[in-house]
Symmetry: C3
Subunit: 161 residues, 3 copies
Amino acid sequence: WRVGEGWDVHALVPGRRLVLGGVEIPFGRGLLGHSDADALLHAITDALLGAAGLGDIGTWFPDTDARFEGADSGQLLQAVAAAVRERGWQPVNVDATVVAQAPRLGPYRAAMQDRIARCLGVPPDAVNVKAKTAERLGPVGQGLSIEARAVVLLQRRAGTA
Amino acid sequence: WRVGEGWDVHALVPGRRLVLGGVEIPFGRGLLGHSDADALLHAITDALLGAAGLGDIGTWFPDTDARFEGADSGQLLQAVAAAVRERGWQPVNVDATVVAQAPRLGPYRAAMQDRIARCLGVPPDAVNVKAKTAERLGPVGQGLSIEARAVVLLQRRAGTA
Amino acid sequence: WRVGEGWDVHALVPGRRLVLGGVEIPFGRGLLGHSDADALLHAITDALLGAAGLGDIGTWFPDTDARFEGADSGQLLQAVAAAVRERGWQPVNVDATVVAQAPRLGPYRAAMQDRIARCLGVPPDAVNVKAKTAERLGPVGQGLSIEARAVVLLQRRAGTA
Ligand SMILES: [Mg+2]
Ligand SMILES: [Mg+2]
Ligand SMILES: [Mg+2]
């Protein structure tokens, strides 16, 4: 068994799509970044890498690498999940929180969970996404950014050392 | 086995009681919220829900629901702990951090741990509360808010699938 | 099995050495604190204490105690790891994130991991350090501070109750 954690933040700006947990959410602004800037998937990706002792998302997918410009973070997460399995680990469950002052994310939680579970190759009930506001405090509370945090538990796959 | 995480923040304002970890703390200000705004219990509640795959505190106890106005967050945590057990999970341990610039929370740590353990129905040594300042940085450091974060480990209850 | 979490922040100021994960990093500023202010080692120390139910770093090493002025946080972590073992627990793995706008920490990740593993008495692959920026947002993003967060998994040592 091993545990991992991840945290991410991206600025919320006009003229970008808002993609969280692999789900596009209608909103006047979106997250700024080299890839699709999906803070939730990035936090989960980092938690998986961390639990498996495989480094961090910035090392795997440098934002200076043109291959990852506008990348679908779901594909990056899928690649990391495959690498984690190759090393002999299986994700047991993922729990995460998205902190956004707006828009309301509750209606998208189930769709995010399904998408994340598919990326990880785990049953839907192995993924839990929670949503909160920042109570109008700090950059997230002022609507300047969105944060996400995640934990993951791994177990040894049957038949691996 | 499953892992969960929770995070919460509430604004610190005049004219409210300060309740953290189910313990009332004498201080000139208190946390703002629909319930008693106990950020520590909310973070633990979210961690439990997350580990068990049961959603989030905002879905369980909407702050638009008059039933939860001024609610004792200890009762909400107890209800969630019961639901987690019904689903076949037992809390193994909880670890949490409260971040507040003031007041000093060290003297209240033991009482918070006892109260949380009673809400969860676990031995006192299964709960650990840590306290920190934010080093005068950001909204917490300026005394505008108090944050809390928590992780929880669950295991299958004997005799459940 | 038990899980723990830790979080820490220190202000980044001129005239101090920058020490993170027990590694001195050349940079014009350093972290402010009573000890060497190593936010990463402090977060890991708190996560270990939390998982073992042993309180928090502020109780163990009060910043009002002259013995810990300028202390090497690696020695504090080592002392805590020994106490955790005495209580019958063994660290399984540690995963952590350092959030700093500058300097770039990627080149120091491996050295931090080695140093932390030595402090804990675990194999190097049991420790994972991740590095991120705060996307220019908040005190960390403005270069006023550096934050760290960590999770740890413990298991019962063979031959202990
Ligand atoms: Mg990111
Ligand atoms: Mg709350
Ligand atoms: Mg510190």
